[in-house]
């Protein structure tokens, strides 16, 4: 029984970037034809390095950025048709930097109750109590209500951001690197908290992260992005145990587990990340691929189904080597 909470169909987001003083503007496809479906209760991780488009995709899923092409739907309704306040009650963000995600001039209490105010929640006299309950739920002492962000540690601020996101009980929470800016000992607290809250409040998460160890621990499904496209998407266990796309394999190899008997792995990735304004032809990963074949530079790979997920790579496409027309 599928309960698709949020879905994206062939979503593209293009920015016009100036290519130099007198050379006019060139298109940059930050997100280039992405489709995904997130089921209720899932934790979908969007994984990739800088420039892969995951943050742009997150902004579109939040309704903060319109798509250039394609649609994003919430429970079947296109996001563009959902009224601003309604959308806000459905999906909320948690940002990476706990220092810049809280307004330094507002008290913790006013930050957490802002969603209630904006939604014109009835009975303002209950707002403080609800905020304090939320604070306890996320592990913050309620007496911090009157304090200001600069009086809190990084971990505490992130809890405030979580409380603010959850106070209106949204269905989906989009976490953009929720623990990258935190110390290791705080990171585990926040991850545990997010896990607990998910089951307690029946939430669905989309987590953007570059930290694969964290992803393996909390995600149910993983989508690997490269230059604006999802190149592989699978259940977490399958992705980590049987990665198919060469980029996925390189990413997994780069995870440095604290095992002193191992060395730093050589991922053989070679050339640096390509310029998104000028992507390589055919399969955009081919200049860095260990398994590159002749036709990889000629045609973009098709999406090949693989179990419950898919991979986009000529290696797994039986027809691609035979010169069949592919887009």
């Amino acid at each position: 029984m599928s309960d698709t909470v949020i879905s994206a169909r062939d979503v593209t987001r293009t920015f016009m970037i100036s290519a130099g003083a007198f050379r006019g503007k060139k298109p940059l496809h930050a997100v280039n034809g992405v489709s995904l479906e997130v089921q209720r209760g899932e934790v979908l991780a969007l994984v990739g390095e800088s420039g892969c488009g995951k943050t742009t995709l997150a902004k579109m899923l939040l309704g903060l950025l319109p798509t250039t092409e394609g649609t994003i739907e919430f429970g079947g309704t296109p996001v563009a048709d959902i009224e601003r306040l309604k959308l806000a009650s459905l999906v909320q963000p948690i940002f990476q930097d706990p220092y810049s995600s809280l307004n330094p001039r507002k008290s913790i209490g006013s930050i957490i109750t802002l969603p209630l105010k904006v939604q014109k929640d009835p009975d303002p006299s209950t707002w403080r109590k609800r905020a304090e309950e939320m604070m306890e739920l996320v592990g913050l002492a309620p007496r911090l209500f009157e304090n200001f962000p600069n009086q809190l540690s990084g971990g505490q601020r992130q809890r405030v951001a979580i409380a603010r996101a959850l106070i209106n009980r949204p269905e989906v929470v989009i976490c953009d690197e929720p623990t990258s800016a935190l110390d290791v000992s705080v990171q585990s607290q926040i991850l545990n908290l997010l896990n607990d809250l998910r089951t307690e409040l029946n939430l669905t998460y989309i987590v953007i992260s570059h930290n694969l160890a964290v992803v393996e621990h909390i995600a149910t499904r993983v989508a690997v992005m490269y230059l604006g496209r999802i190149v592989e998407q699978k259940d977490t266990e399958r992705l980590f145990n049987e990665p198919e796309h060469p980029y996925t394999k390189a990413l997994l190899q780069s995870v440095l587990t604290p095992d002193p008997s191992l060395d730093v792995p050589d991922t053989h990735l070679g050339a640096a990340y390509p310029n998104p304004v000028d992507p390589p032809s055919g399969c955009t990963f081919h200049p860095r691929c260990v398994n590159v074949m002749e036709h990889c530079s000629l045609a973009a790979p098709r999406t090949i189904n693989s179990g419950d997920g898919f991979v986009e790579c000529h290696l797994y496409d039986e027809d691609s080597g035979r010169g069949r027309a592919v887009s």
């Binding site: 995600s101 307004n103 001039r105 904006v118 592990g139 600069n150 603010r164």
Partner: protein
């Protein structure tokens, strides 16, 4: 140092101790009283305000009362038989008490400074914040308007307008207000741009805040420090411009005791009765200095809080 870990149902309450830092308001207050320039500027300015406010009570004579019989009496510190404590700062060529004129003159300077600053502040801030927040076309249009304004020579335009329209006090205020908003616009635009890209603005958008709410509740409180600094600069600017206009005869009209006008009227007697120019000149200097020191002080005191 007890940090307790108590489990309430599923989530432990961890670290309820705050980092040892004062709130933004307390920190600003602490810095204020330690800053010499700020305190000096604030005190002097408040004193001048008090003088202006209490003018009818503390002024020994009527500033407009001309009595030619007692003209050109030097101030008390002069070595002259005519000097007396009845006219501590002497009298001008029309026999008017200079101290009283000075006191009433402060009203004019402050009123013009304040009002012109408010008008230009509203115009400039509105333009700057709009440009900074919306970017794109709005930014282009505002930039064009600012560039146009910057290419106008302020004093000449002011003179031209005033000579055409007339020069009552309020015309001078409006002319100045409509001309000196450019610094507000430029500074507010760049400050808004910096704040606009921070995560808490994106969070407010995701919460569903309307644009006016974002601008006034999220962005403004974080740019108001810069706004105050520019306001003090422009207040001083307006006061000097008024003095210049009056000096040139196109500001406030005689017999009003505007300090600039007093300088203008006294310039013909400068050689033999230099106090006619020196006293209002010094008063202007002290007022402008205090405003500038206050502005510098505010900027220092509200310097952006460092991260932990």
């Amino acid at each position: 140092m007890g940090d307790t870990v108590q489990k309430t149902d599923s989530v432990p309450v961890i670290a309820d101790r705050t980092v040892d830092e004062p709130s933004p308001a307390e920190r600003a207050r602490k810095r204020m009283f330690g800053h010499f320039g700020f305190m000096f500027g604030a005190i002097v300015l408040l004193t001048i305000f008090a003088i202006a406010f209490l003018a009818p009570l503390i002024s020994p004579h009527d500033p407009l009362d001309q009595q030619l019989a007692r003209k050109l009496i030097p101030p008390v510190w002069h070595d002259s038989p005519k000097a007396s404590w009845e006219f501590p700062l002497g009298t001008d060529q029309f026999g008017r008490d200079y101290l009283s004129r000075l006191i009433y003159g402060s009203q004019i300077s402050l009123l013009i400074g304040f009002a012109a600053m408010l008008i230009s502040g509203v115009i400039g801030t509105a333009l700057g914040v709009a440009a900074g927040y919306f970017g794109g076309r709005v930014d282009m249009v505002v930039n064009f308007i600012i560039t146009t304004r910057l290419s106008l020579p302020v004093v000449l335009v002011a003179l031209a307008v005033v000579s055409l329209v007339g020069n009552s006090l309020w015309i001078v205020i409006w002319v100045l207000g409509l001309l000196i908003w450019d610094r507000f616009a430029v500074v507010m635009r760049s400050t808004t741009q910096q704040v606009r890209n921070l995560d808490y603005v994106a969070a407010a958008q995701a919460i569903g805040c309307s644009t006016p709410r974002i601008i006034f509740a999220e962005i403004m409180p974080n740019i108001v420090n810069n706004l105050i600094v520019v306001a003090t600069i422009e207040m001083a600017h307006a006061i000097i411009l008024e003095a210049a206009l009056s000096f040139l005869g196109l500001g406030v009209q005689p017999p009003a005791p505007s300090w600039g006008l007093m300088i203008a009227e006294g310039k013909n007697h400068m050689l033999f009765d230099p106090w006619l120019v020196g006293i209002p000149g010094t008063a202007l200097f002290i007022l402008i200095l205090s405003i500038n020191l206050l502005g510098d002080g505010i900027r220092d005191v509200t310097a952006p809080e460092n991260r932990n």
